[in-house]
């Protein structure tokens, strides 16, 4: 025993040495090595393809956990001067990372890359001419619905939110166990997207002066709408993606999920048995108003301030977003590419397994992606807003107090924290 342990350690050290020498690919001085943090199983194949095509740049991928975990680690690593060269970031965390001086402005290196994206998409990562990342995948919002159950219950797909409320009532009548949708008090990004569709501007910045509008009129209206559905027991108010909720989905008791275009792969992950049963439709809009939708979720690739070779990092990022070898992996894995070329390639592919039966899947998807709300600005403390939202809305659901009050409470907490930290803010 006494001998074995050190020997195991020695073996381990040897393995570790081996692993790190692999990353240096021959140790040639001309080869640039990039560290890349990103979650998700898709990244391995994309990075491998890049490495195969670029003998002079080798990328080492690390999975540092999903969006929130990764952002937290990124902040800590950056403070220690230890951040990776390139990292995946969720769009809404970009301003916070910029404020903490984690992300590099790559405006001087991107050339004409902006032309590869719609303006609305490019605006997700660039602010006043400064570029803090390149969009990787986007989630234009659509209405994912269980078509088989809709047909079974004789329901029509709603085009407007007004119709959505009617369908909600009909669904309850025809099957008392079934709800048309779930209002989750913890889905900050979802509610933000719905509010943005209705014209809300949650953050605005002008010459470093912030305006917070989480509690604005448009958001109040959206909150009021869902309040009404909850009060009439037409939607189920509970967290999403819990085992409990997954179970409901499996029983066919959740009819729709208004969410980003990545939603089919999520539902497929929890209800494989319903493959082919679902379809997407344009997200309902407000009667007489624009049918542009917001984005929910999605992420960008950003270069950090710790990157030594920004040129190489940008080359990697550009390739990831525009090369067919990369975007094809995204599409087959259920991600919707951010770049126009990727989105065009998607049209030629099969729809996701969950919605396998839908012939016009990509038409609906493309229409949503080309008609999005411009200038979505996230704030420097979205995580605080996210918590405050989840806490306030959960409490409102629990105590049956108005959602509009919860919105006001969220606004107050966000503004208070921004003031405490020293942002000039009006709200």
């Amino acid at each position: 025993m006494r001998v074995r342990i050190p020997r195991r350690l020695a073996a381990l050290a040897a393995v570790t040495a081996l692993l790190s020498s692999c990353g240096l690919a021959g140790g040639d001085d001309d080869v640039v090595t990039l560290d890349f943090w990103c979650w998700g199983d898709l990244q391995t194949a994309r990075v491998d393809a890049f490495n195969a095509a670029h003998p002079d740049i080798q990328v080492r991928r690390t999975d540092a956990g999903g969006g929130n975990d990764s952002a937290t680690k990124l902040l800590t690593a950056s403070r220690a001067g230890n951040a990776p060269d390139v990292t995946c970031v969720e769009y809404q965390t970009i301003p916070a990372l910029v404020v903490s001086d984690v992300l590099a402005d790559i405006a001087d290196h991107v050339g004409g890359l902006a032309d590869e994206f719609t303006d609305e998409t490019w605006q997700l990562t660039s602010f006043e001419g400064q570029v803090y990342g390149v969009p990787d995948d986007v989630g234009p919002m659509v209405l994912l619905y269980n078509r088989a159950r809709f047909e079974e219950l004789g329901l029509a797909v709603p085009a407007t939110w007004e119709e959505f409320a009617e369908v909600a009532a009909e669904a309850r009548e025809r099957d008392p166990d079934t709800y048309v949708a779930t209002f989750s008090p913890t889905e900050f990004g979802n509610f933000a997207g719905l509010a943005q569709q209705g014209g809300a501007t949650w953050w605005e910045v002008d010459d470093r002066r912030w305006t917070v509008g989480i509690d604005d009129e448009a958001s109040q209206r959206v909150a009021g709408y869902w309040q009404d559905l909850i009060d009439r027991d037409l939607v189920n108010a509970e967290p999403l993606l819990t085992p409990e909720w997954n179970n409901r989905v499996n029983r066919g008791e959740v009819l729709t999920w208004p969410a980003g275009l990545w939603s089919p792969s999520v539902i497929y992950g929890i209800a494989e048995g319903q493959a082919g049963d679902w379809a997407i439709a344009p997200l309902p809009h407000w009667e007489g108003e624009s049918d542009a939708v917001a984005f929910q979720g999605g992420s960008a690739l950003s270069v950090t301030n710790d990157a030594e070779n920004v040129e190489a990092a940008v080359e990697f990022v550009s390739w990831m977003e525009t090369a067919a070898e990369s975007t094809d992996v995204q599409i087959s894995g259920g991600q919707y590419p951010a770049s126009l070329s990727g989105q065009e390639a998607a049209v030629l592919s099969d729809p996701p397994t969950l919605t396998a039966g839908q012939d016009d899947y990509w038409d609906v998807a493309t229409a949503a992606a080309r008609n999005t709300v411009p200038h979505i600005q996230w704030g420097p403390n979205v995580t605080t807003a996210n918590d405050a939202y989840a806490d306030a809305f959960s409490a409102a659901i629990r105590d049956r107090t108005p959602l509009t009050d919860a919105l006001a409470r969220t606004q107050r907490e966000v503004v208070a924290e921004m003031e405490r930290v020293g942002f000039p803010v009006t709200g």
Partner: protein, 349 residues
């Protein structure tokens, strides 16, 4: 009670075990020389004069690795945390949104946290959770230990092993397990009550959340505490119990009047474990949070601290919160020891 919170340095086992150290405060002072009377070990006051220079240096040499590690991974980090707690991240006018940088803010973080009602609300919930969980854990552990010690019960080896097993289950995992036991669609308990026509049990709703959470801690904590009390019971000389029986004392009275007072030190110790475990509760509510709307981000103090440090990226604030919590732990532990020492140790001698 929630191993996620026990730093590597602060706990060898669960947080329960981590709490054992303050117990030493009540142990005889190292140089009092009373040593371990129970086992008849002679006092450690040994041969100072005869050791020579090598002997003089020896204890320091022996202590070098421990002290070096202590300084590197406990003392310096604590100092750094204290330093951090008087810093603050504030906005300076740079960049498109402004940039956060670290400046000295004095006691502003402490002022903020001590006047934040959310932080104190977390203490309140933690207290309620502890008031339910700690007596149940200790009561059950004592009961099972007494039954194991009582010769009459059968299946003792099996029961002892079974009750001890949850100790091997990491707190994160235990919370997940129980989470599934609570969720209406997967709960076997709700399944049974529904079959009986009573409807499901709302484990995760309203006030139920407190006993539900406390139960996870009880489940994980009974075994370890039971073993400690049990081993203490085994240390009682059998003649004592025999004498009592001859005097016509019932098993029940024997347990209550003789055994329990004799293992009082072990009870104090387990009480301390539980107290510290309660103060550092974090894992259970965090794991159950996605399953219920009852638990918010700052439900107990450590969740509040975690939110500041890891979600809001406000390490100085988290450092201040940790310092407050550490001081609170120290004060409560010493208070518990002082009160119980006067009673149990004074009375038992």
């Amino acid at each position: 009670m929630s191993e996620t919170t026990s730093g590597p340095a602060s706990g060898p086992a669960t947080d329960l075990a981590a709490g054992a150290a303050p117990a030493a405060v009540s142990a005889p002072a190292p140089d009092s020389g009373s040593g371990n009377g129970a086992r008849g070990a002679p006092p450690p006051r040994a041969g100072g004069g005869r050791r020579g220079l090598g002997g003089f240096l020896a204890p320091y040499v022996f202590l070098t690795p421990a002290l070096a590690l202590f300084v590197a991974f406990l003392a310096i980090p604590v100092g750094y945390a204290l330093y951090l707690s008087v810093q603050g991240l504030r906005i300076v006018d740079e960049g498109v949104f402004g940039t956060r940088s670290e400046v000295f803010v004095g006691f502003a973080n402490y002022a903020d946290i001590l006047t934040d009602s959310t932080f104190w609300a977390g203490f309140g919930r933690m207290a309620l959770y502890g008031v339910i969980g700690v007596p149940l854990t200790l009561g059950a552990a004592l009961l099972f230990a007494l039954l194991l010690d009582y010769g009459g019960a059968r299946a003792r080896r099996f029961s002892r092993a079974a009750i001890f097993l949850p100790y091997a289950v990491p707190g994160v995992i235990a919370s997940l397990l129980w989470g599934f036991m609570y969720l209406p669609s997967t709960s076997p308990f709700s399944h049974v009550t529904e079959e009986l026509g009573l409807g499901g049990i709302p484990f995760l709703d309203g006030g139920w959340i407190f006993p539900s959470l406390a139960n996870i801690a009880v489940w994980g904590g009974i075994g370890f505490n039971m073993i400690i009390i049990y081993t203490a019971l085994r240390g009682i000389p059998p003649e004592l119990a025999d004498a009592a029986r001859i005097d016509g004392c019932s098993e029940w009275r024997l347990a209550l009047r003789i055994k329990v007072p004799l293992v009082a030190p072990a009870l104090v110790l387990t009480g301390l474990f539980s107290l510290i475990g309660t103060l550092q509760v974090y894992g259970e509510p965090t794991m159950l949070r996605p399953m219920t709307v009852e638990i918010d981000q700052t439900w107990v103090p450590l969740m509040y601290i975690y939110r500041d440090g890891f979600i809001r990226d406000d390490l100085p604030m988290a450092a201040a919160g940790s310092v407050v919590l550490a001081i609170g732990t120290l004060v409560l532990s010493l208070a518990l020891l002082r009160v119980t020492q006067r009673r149990t140790f004074g009375g038992a001698q």
